[in-house]
Symmetry: C2
Subunit: 455 residues, 2 copies
């Protein structure tokens, strides 16, 4: 091991970020605004305020301030589980026999099991500050719902979670964690909303989708006094909160006197990837440094690598504003054999714009290869990774093996977003040799694209 | 919050312990030796070497060396998940309104989910060094089995785990984590051993016990070329390895300029409690400092508070040496409604002697009260604790509330041994209001005592 570089680097509390970084301020081409689905005009703060908390609306629309203060209450909560460690993967490097230096930023050391808590506590804080009774949301794999339940318990807010039915049934323990934190959890689609009843009537026996759960959560928030809707990914405000990951990483690298060449993150809606790369991207946009950024997505849900860059509905029920993003169409649902998260049909507008501007690369990987990397990583580095995070591990290993061939001593940073402790059904399939891959055909994708709105 | 005391204190890698501390060296009354069940004479190193690795036998019998070097390979592995944080529970203090300062040493931030990895990696290392093919063990709640699987994966050792049948069935995901790390997991009692077949014949339909799983694991180790048996608690060697918890805690307190008044740990076989208190107990034994030590055990398995201090069998099949310990009798099995670990019939000989010498206190708590504390802690401090750890939380909260009454500003340290992510069946019972308590009657205990050997 390098004498001066420990396995784990923690910032001191005094070194933790006091402001989030808003990458949009440094983007020449700003991400396209959300559109009102009725008027096709940009959503106003007033219109957004019906759905979201007021301060979060301000953050959503703010494309000019590079730094936004993190309120002290949130910084105090961050201190309970942050800073997260920047880990040097010495054992993995040795096992691969690579000259590359591999680092990962590990966000899994909290009960939500992922980075989602970074934004959940912020959104709960602003809801509390606004005097609300509670919030509604959707959850797929369950990480976001768990994180929000924890945040709401901390601030004494009611928390209503619509959980994609297939996850609700396959992950009873995720559900139970949320209940332990006092949240109510409803399988979606449900008969508690108009949109849920409509979807159930049209598709009896459906196991649900994220887009549908979003529609239900939004409907309940808008129709309930003192409630707002909160979302764990895709939105600009979420990327803003998640910038704490990248800011800590950057500060830790500076402390070590190191600099990554390649930065890799898994990408579903973009919350982790956007948060991890933001401050580094800012340096690149300002011409201060250069990095290769790689978004890794599942081959079964390839919004960046095979999607269209277009305005689309954010939800199945079409109750949400339209967003311009790389999308597979709001009707797209990954095949049933897809394990874990990263199943949203679209990608964060900010990341979509950066990708369209060729500031970031994207690759897609098949899930059996992802779980091979997950198992290898678990046995060597000791941490059982979340399936989502393992997409980034897969590509980090592949890049390190390329360095082995070329002899290049590149420095690789990837985001280890979380742990897989609630994903053992998927691991069991892999352990039993029963996991399969599925890559949608062009015809499959054409069906999704056919549903894109004419904007 | 105190200006100079962060939420979390991490030692630098250079400050991590390089030696384990062996509390027996400072004990005036040494723990009683293990006895050969046939001759009733103290077990020799040679006899123990049939079951255990040679260097571990040396450690087991060593009552004179206060410090034993931690081999570099183990220290490297420790760096992957240690140092563990010493956490100041500011939010809990505030919620309780207590003048007490509450600290906890959190051992749950690794995939095994508990402190068990501290000894697992040590035992796997010595097995590897001895050129063995593999090791066998038992696991109850599953934390030890998981930890050993991880350690064996790291050193490329085969790992055979006998898992108490009721846990095997109720915790399929624990089993799957072990499989992901390459271990084979067999529900106990099984038909793969003589002792298993005998127990199955005598008690058809039994859901197993730790004592029975130990017997099976020992039988397989002794009967297989290149295998030894390893155990995750009770033994002196385990307390030695676990002293890393207490040594880090002591160093962190010294760094902060603080000193605990009360040190609290849950106690099943004694691995966590013994490890946490050892260095502090050493100071007390040497007259350098004074502390109150409190062992917390389940009311349903009260070996210290209601057991007898006597020689007893360590396992149901009576294939192991006899140990002098506080015990409920090797036939004692906690009632079926007992959730989680802390279900072993006896207590570490070292801790038993310290308790008998009145150097340590013990209390028992009922499990509904334990889960109330667990839920409260989860919501306030953000970490979902293991049921075992929650015994210590319960008493830490009770002591902090006493301080609130008296106005005393005591400093409380407790061991948060792990997380409850694989214990959601128990949490679900609690959330649904279906958890009950059970305190064995004197008659129940008399049955266990009747099986004590005449030594």
């Amino acid at each position: 091991m390098d004498k001066n570089i420990p396995y784990k680097t923690y910032l001191e509390e005094s070194e933790m970020p006091k402001q989030w970084y808003n990458v949009r301020a440094d983007m020449k081409n700003k991400p396209a605004p959300l559109l009102n689905p009725a008027t096709l005009k940009p959503m106003t703060a007033e219109e957004l305020g019906v759905v979201f908390c007021d301060e979060l609306v301000d953050q959503e629309l703010n494309t000019t301030d590079a730094y936004i203060d993190i309120p002290e209450e949130i910084r105090e909560f961050y201190k309970m589980y942050r800073p997260s460690p920047l880990v040097r993967a010495y054992c993995l490097e040795k096992a691969l026999g690579t000259p590359a230096k591999i680092y990962y930023k590990f966000e899994g050391n909290n009960t939500s099991g992922s980075h989602k808590l970074n934004s959940a506590i912020a959104q709960a804080y602003y809801a509390k500050k606004q005097g609300l009774k509670g919030v509604t949301t959707e959850t797929g794999a369950g990480q976001w719902g768990t994180a929000l339940s924890m945040a709401c318990a901390y601030f004494g807010l009611d928390c209503k979670v619509y959980m994609v039915k297939v996850s609700y049934e396959q992950k009873p323990f995720r559900r139970e964690v949320m209940r332990t934190y006092g949240a109510s959890v409803t399988p979606s689609p449900s008969d508690t909303t108009n949109v849920g009843r409509k979807i159930l009537a049209e598709h009896p026996g459906t196991t649900g989708s994220l887009g549908c759960a979003i529609s239900e959560a939004v409907e309940v928030a808008v129709g309930s006094e003192g409630y707002r809707y909160v979302l764990g990914s895709v939105l600009n405000q979420v990327l803003l909160h998640q910038s704490v990951i990248g800011l800590e990483s950057l500060a830790a690298f500076e402390k070590l006197g190191e600099k990554p060449d390649i930065i890799i993150g898994c990408a579903g809606g973009g919350s982790n990837l956007g948060g991890l790369i933001s401050p580094f991207m800012g340096q690149k946009l300002r011409g201060e440094a250069d990095y290769r950024f790689i978004a890794v997505e599942p081959a079964s849900c390839p919004s960046l690598t095979r999607g269209k860059y277009a305005y689309d509905y954010c939800d199945t029920g079409m109750v949400c504003p339209l967003a311009k993003m790389y999308t597979l169409g709001s009707g797209f649902i990954p095949s049933a054999n897809h394990a874990g998260g990263l199943r949203y049909h679209g990608m964060s507008s900010t990341l979509s714009q950066l990708y369209d501007d060729k500031l970031m690369e994207a690759v897609s990987v098949e899930q059996t290869k992802v779980f091979e990397a997950a198992q290898q990583f678990a046995r060597i580095e000791g941490i059982l990774p979340a399936p989502e995070s393992s997409h980034a591990i897969r590509v980090a290993i592949d890049e390190a093996l390329k360095c082995k061939e070329t002899g290049e001593e590149k420095t690789i940073l990837f985001g280890l977003t979380g742990t897989g402790y609630f994903d053992m059904v998927a691991y069991q399939k892999f352990n039993d040799g029963e996991m399969s891959d599925y890559i949608p055909t062009d015809d499959d994708l054409a069906k999704g694209f056919a549903g894109l709105p004419k904007v």
